[in-house]
């Protein structure tokens, strides 16, 4: 089904504004997506109508809030095709989800001399938690190399796998380059060595249909704010048989069964990993974001985004002195680029003056930038509400950058 983009744009009030006197062109969707009215309204009606602490109250508001909270968990389960809602843990975001695995699974099951594999494409959030674990545990972090197009070299990955490999943690889609990794192959190969796999799905979840069972992923992490949902909320999917063996990561209320000063027993899944009062309002509103995506249809969204990507690749590729960084065969709607002789920050500042929001810098992937031999890039990332006219505006904006800075 062909989506009516102008109609969709009306669902996102933030898009109707001018920046520096120019119509806003929001191309920083890989950093965070904008929120549709249904999500904003859901937050409002939660606070106006049924704000209460969940799971423990017996009054009407608490019951209503609890039901809405758990309704989102069911929606997330369906969104990822997890087996049960016990496998869906709410966290603060992808970073928090990865830290949970590093601290809980990592602390218990990874020992000195064991190896963890990550790829050159990783975001700092999928590097640093493992470095911290390795420092404490004496395990070894190994890096899967990429080719110049920004694709994982599978033969090199296979060489790194061994019985010592305990965990492979890779990004599903690269935030800096847009590369879609062959995640199913990566998972299967790791499993052949008995290693578990965590997939950083922060960038993938808004573009690709995720089926954790078909992928056979052990862990899958994502952030709500990249899915038109609220900030400060994420999800960790984990296979139940793994989650039950893992110790809690944070202690507090909600995650307990019984507490005495001598000993505490922990709550069942998923609550064992959700200490303290959770981010109730945002969880409640997240369901509306997922429903919104479901209504548009992920296939339809991807079709429009791919058209934008193809159009932008052609138009930007034709600009003299512009080099697209990241030319993987399988990509989502992200274009990273550099301009000859111009620092990415200068590109960003001049585009901003024209109302165009892109991201510039190293995109929290410094080791990747080092591998590519560049200080950073300018990155335009497209979402369902973006238009071809906006890409034309970007092209004109880049030409202006060249005029001013060459």
């Amino acid at each position: 089904m062909k989506l009516d983009i102008n109609k969709i744009r009306q669902d996102f009030p933030i898009l109707e504004q001018s920046i520096n006197g120019k119509k806003l062109v929001y191309f920083d969707n890989a950093a965070t997506t904008q929120k549709p009215t249904v999500v904003i309204e859901a937050l409002k009606s939660y606070y106006e109508g049924y704000n209460a602490n969940i799971h423990r109250g017996i009054h009407h508001l608490a019951e209503k809030a609890t039901a809405a909270f758990e309704e989102t968990r069911k929606t997330v389960r369906a969104f990822l095709n997890a087996k049960t809602t016990e496998e869906i843990i709410f966290t603060c975001g992808t970073t928090d989800s990865i830290n949970l695995v590093a601290n809980s699974y990592g602390q218990k099951f990874i020992s000195e001399g064991d190896e963890i594999l990550i790829s050159t494409l990783e975001h700092h959030s999928d590097i640093v938690p493992w470095q911290m674990l390795c420092e404490g545990k004496g395990c070894i972090l190994k890096i899967i190399p990429i080719n110049d197009a920004g694709e994982i070299i599978l033969e090199e990955y296979e060489k790194l796998l061994s019985p010592k490999t305990k965990l492979v943690s890779v990004v599903h889609v690269s935030n800096a380059l847009g590369t879609i990794n062959p995640i199913k192959t990566i998972i299967d190969k790791a499993h052949a060595f008995g290693a578990k796999v965590l997939v950083d799905g922060a960038q993938a979840c808004s573009h690709i249909d995720i089926d954790v069972q078909a992928l056979d992923a052990d862990f899958y992490a994502l952030s709500a704010h990249k899915l038109f949902g609220p900030t400060g909320l994420g999800v960790l999917y984990g296979k139940k048989e793994l989650l039950v063996t893992m110790p809690p990561y944070r202690g507090g209320g909600e995650m307990i069964k019984e507490v005495t000063f001598e000993k505490t027993t922990y709550a069942d899944l998923p609550y064992k990993f959700e200490a303290g009062t959770p981010n109730i309002a945002d969880v409640v509103a997240f369901k509306f974001a997922l429903d919104y995506i479901q209504n548009l249809g992920k296939t339809n969204i991807a079709a429009h985004e791919n058209e934008l990507l193809a159009y932008a690749t052609e138009k930007l590729g034709a600009i003299e002195g512009l080099t697209i960084i990241g030319t993987a065969k399988e990509k989502v709607s992200v274009i990273s680029f550099i301009l000859e002789g111009i620092h990415p920050q200068d590109i960003g500042i001049i585009l901003d003056q024209q109302g165009i929001a892109v991201r510039t810098g190293h995109h929290c992937t410094q080791p990747l930038m080092q591998r590519l031999g560049i200080p950073g890039t300018a990155r335009a990332s497209f979402s369902v509400y973006n238009t071809f006219e906006e890409i034309d505006a970007l092209v004109a904006g880049i030409l202006k950058v060249k005029k001013l800075l060459s």
């Binding site: 620092h343 920050q345 200068d346 001049i350």
Partner: protein, 141 residues
Amino acid sequence: MSINELQDEIIEEFELFEEDWEGKYEYIIDLGKKLSPLAEEFKTEDNIIKGCQSVVWLNAKYENGLVIFEGDSQAIIVKGLVNMLLKVLTNHTPTEILNADLYFIDKIGLTSHLAQTRSNGLASMVKQMKTYALAYQSLEK
């Protein structure tokens, strides 16, 4: 000229551009191009003011009771802003630098470039200039 006179001079220059963002940035870019590059020997790790996106170098020396600053950046717009900060703060006594209230940045509409964000090292640069001034102040008679 005093620090405030130098600031007022910049403010006056920018009044020409009021609604003309292109003219304003052309001017800043030009200032960036005009700033003679910092000698490689001073582009040391110690002289780096780390921002998230572009590196700014700052070198300082104390001569005849005055602090002399030199600076550079990888990005040309930042380099233009560095040039302005150098124009205003170099060749003054440590006490003058420490007491300086840099109102010109706000007046010329570039506050966002100095905001405490990770986007550049300029705010850290001002801080570092003041730190140098503080260190040299102990040498003042």
